[in-house]
Symmetry: C2
């Protein structure tokens, strides 16, 4: 065997003979020397110095793709095991009849939903009045600058009344809903839907009022470039103050009012159907998960929390984290991908960017900017940027943003569960320090920094924050009412 | 806001404002129009049609790197949970004094180890006799071809005797060890070490005999190019028939005899120390794992197996699979990376390719060729390639290979545990169909095929095969002896 052939063989071995399976070696046998040699037992298989591929001496580090596959398989196996274990422990816990929502809840819920359009109508009346006043002002507008300015001032002075009326109207709507949900709607699910709808409409109301105020001001001094977006030109103020325009905004999947939105040319009903099917499927999936897996874990952890056994609580939170994570991901997809896209398609709403790739967030700030775009854009447009414009420090401004959304979160969770325990509030406020801490990681060029930031996000938010929150609210609920649905013994 | 600026803003948003954190928006506020506009509440955030990044309409699919990180975190969390759970259930199970090996086991073990060199010495005597005969033949060699051929024939006829003696010698060594281990060494650990050593020496013996036979034949007709590897030229037959040469082969980390091996120039003792430290550390790690985690799972599954409750057995196997997988990986690294490299360094053995990247195997055949190179090379050189050379079909030849290694596996597991239940044998034989089935996947160009093959490998081998085997042998052991170490109640 000549040296060259030797090295050939050696190398073909060092690539662990990828070219030849034991099974079809006959084919490859023509290539590798040992087979052709007259004396098969003398073939030299150790021909040159080689390093183990895992040694540091090795000049090439092998790929570890196989271990990624293994990781996925282990995850599947572990969860399959937990499913079997759970089944053997509890049997089937899913029971449609067991669920007790009261007729009262449904009736009150529908009434609350019916009330909302009325408030929107009031908002419309307020705006049209203001618009009328503005038009009058323009009508009797004189040429000289100081007179213009006087008009401006006069008009400015009217804003507080408009603002007051809007606030009264919007807040009344929210207050009534919250009151009814907290005191008269027992079922947390129905309560959450009502409260969520009320909060959304409240935000839309604010956006509507603020935007139209600025449009009015822009209208009153056309000389100074108001810097209005081109897109608005197709429907200039006050032509946008119509019932149809407002109701479109009410139903459109956004919290930011614009007289004009980018629209799609037509409705693809097949698209709508698919998205709704996704939504339905995921809702059932989530329900099954919570009934079969989350509920028992939560129930088992009650006494653990009662006696404050830290190790057990930790164990519970970890056991819960996997389930709550899956529920969270499914819920996110169901709402922000499936439902919102379906709604947008029906409304021919063009801008479907309801989220960006928040799962890659390398900082908490990035996450909060990317997972829920509608709310983020509202906060940015109507809270953050105006405050910064008035010379607030960015940190203070975002402090206000998170304080506001902390209150809304607490309302959203605390009111339907009839427990103001402030965990949601605290959780939101706790984001600020985390954001400040992780902000540097986001700037990092190297992927390691980003990975660390991403891990901090997942752990703090999905693996600890959420399950812990769920645990505490469930505990508070149990302490107040006992089980929400009659469970089989 | 002009169109260009608008698109600028829009795009800066569509990259979810990665450039600006809420916290330091002041910096970036100079870039994005809304902040500079006189009327902050009119900024158009919905400027153009955009798709949700998860929709199929989206032109770019986002990266999912974040989910890889999440996967790792969930794995860690789940296992941490299992550790806590295990601790709360069982407390600390590790107990050094509890382990009962008997003085007899140790004594017999050392005797068996001492016996091996004697057999090697016998092998040396046989070979030197054969070498002497060969030399004589050459001495009285005539010139004519037919006389040469006659000599050849004469010599050929002597091979059976040599072969018989070698077989007797090698097999006696193996038989004695197996007999003693099976009947007199209770402790499975000590038994395994003795049996393993005996099997290794048996293989080395075979390789030694076969190689020298072919070297002899090559010596006897130098005319026809024997195709001997160049590397042997530094020590041509019969100069390699020495005690030192043989004992080097005995201790060298290979099963394939070569008169000459690639050697390193010097021994790096620091390297040796590190590898041995790794080996020690991993051994302790493995011991802890099996004592604290594997043992209870195994014990709990006894009655499940007894009553053949399939669901429970499945659940047990899955619970065991994670642990056995970790033990398996640690064990692989401890033996093939740490220990063998240490040994090779001490022996200045150059070829350290004891394994290649088997974890990426896209077929079972690939795995068996890459995870244990020493055995693979032995089988290839002394069993597979000779058989193929004699015109056997590759499949039949590899059938023989796996049958042989199946027997050896059964001996290695069955004898020390005093249970010939044939599971190891069956497991090895079962590899053949799997190899045939997965061979096509290996050929596949597309990564998907390879991934599927890799997953089949992991599942069949690590997630099901091994834990199931361990379960069954443990069950057999328990049925025969009860617990191997006195466990605390």
């Amino acid at each position: 065997m000549t040296q060259t052939e030797a090295t050939k063989t050696a190398s073909s071995q060092s690539t662990h003979a990828a070219a030849e399976t034991i099974v079809n070696a006959a084919l490859s046998s023509s290539q590798s020397k040992p087979r052709r040699s007259k004396y098969r037992h003398v073939a030299a298989y150790h021909l040159k110095q080689r390093h183990s591929s895992l040694s540091r001496d090795a000049n090439v580090t092998p790929s570890f793709l196989g271990f990624r596959n293994l990781m996925v398989l282990v995850l599947v196996a572990m969860n399959l095991r937990l499913i079997i274990e759970n089944f053997m422990k509890y049997g089937v816990l899913i029971c449609i009849k067991c669920h007790d929502y009261r007729r009262q809840d449904l009736i009150l819920g529908s009434i609350l939903f019916a009330l909302v359009p009325c408030h929107l109508f009031v908002a419309y009346l307020i705006e049209s009045a203001a618009a009328g006043a503005a038009k009058k002002t323009i009508g009797l507008q004189k040429k000289t600058a100081e007179e213009k300015e006087y008009d401006q001032k006069v008009f400015q002075s009217t804003w507080p009344y408009t603002a007051f009326l809007h606030t009264a109207n919007a807040t009344l709507c929210l207050a009534v809903t919250s009151f009814v949900v907290y005191f008269y709607i027992h079922h947390p699910g129905i309560g959450t839907i009502c409260e969520l709808h009320a909060i959304i409409v409240w935000l839309k109301n604010c956006s509507f009022a603020f935007t139209n105020r600025d449009l009015r001001l822009a209208l009153l001094n056309p000389s100074a470039d108001p810097g209005l977006p081109e897109i608005y030109s197709s429907c200039p103020y006050p032509r946008n103050i119509t019932i149809s325009n407002l109701s479109y905004f009410w139903l459109a999947p956004t919290l930011v009012y614009q007289p004009v939105y980018p629209r799609t040319s037509s409705i693809r009903w097949s698209f709508v159907a698919k998205r709704l099917a996704e939504f339905a499927g995921l809702s059932v999936f989530i329900w099954l998960l919570s009934a079969q897996y989350a509920a028992p874990v939560l129930r088992n952890s009650i006494e653990k929390i009662a006696v404050m056994d830290i190790a057990s609580i930790l164990e519970r939170v970890m056991k819960l984290s996997t389930i709550s994570l899956v529920i969270w991901l499914a819920g996110f997809f169901a709402l922000f991908q499936a439902l919102m896209n379906a709604l947008a398609e029906v409304m021919r709403f063009g801008d479907r960017e309801f989220y960006t790739d928040w799962w890659n967030s390398s900082s908490l700030g990035m996450y909060w900017r990317s997972w829920n775009r509608p709310v983020y854009l509202f906060m940015k447009r109507h809270v953050y940027s105006p405050l910064v414009g008035r010379g607030w420090s960015p940190l203070a401004a975002s402090g206000v943003v998170f304080a506001l959304s902390a209150i809304l979160h607490e309302m959203l969770v605390g009111i339907p569960t009839h427990n103001f325990i402030g965990v949601a509030f605290a959780g939101m406020m706790f984001q600020l320090p985390l954001i400040v801490l992780t902000a540097p990681l986001e700037k990092k060029r190297d992927p390691l920094g980003k990975t660390i930031g991403n891990c901090i996000f997942w752990v703090s938010f999905c693996l600890v924050g959420q399950p812990l929150g769920a645990l505490l609210y469930f505990f508070a609920w149990q302490a107040k009412y006992g089980s929400v649905s009659k469970m089989r013994p």
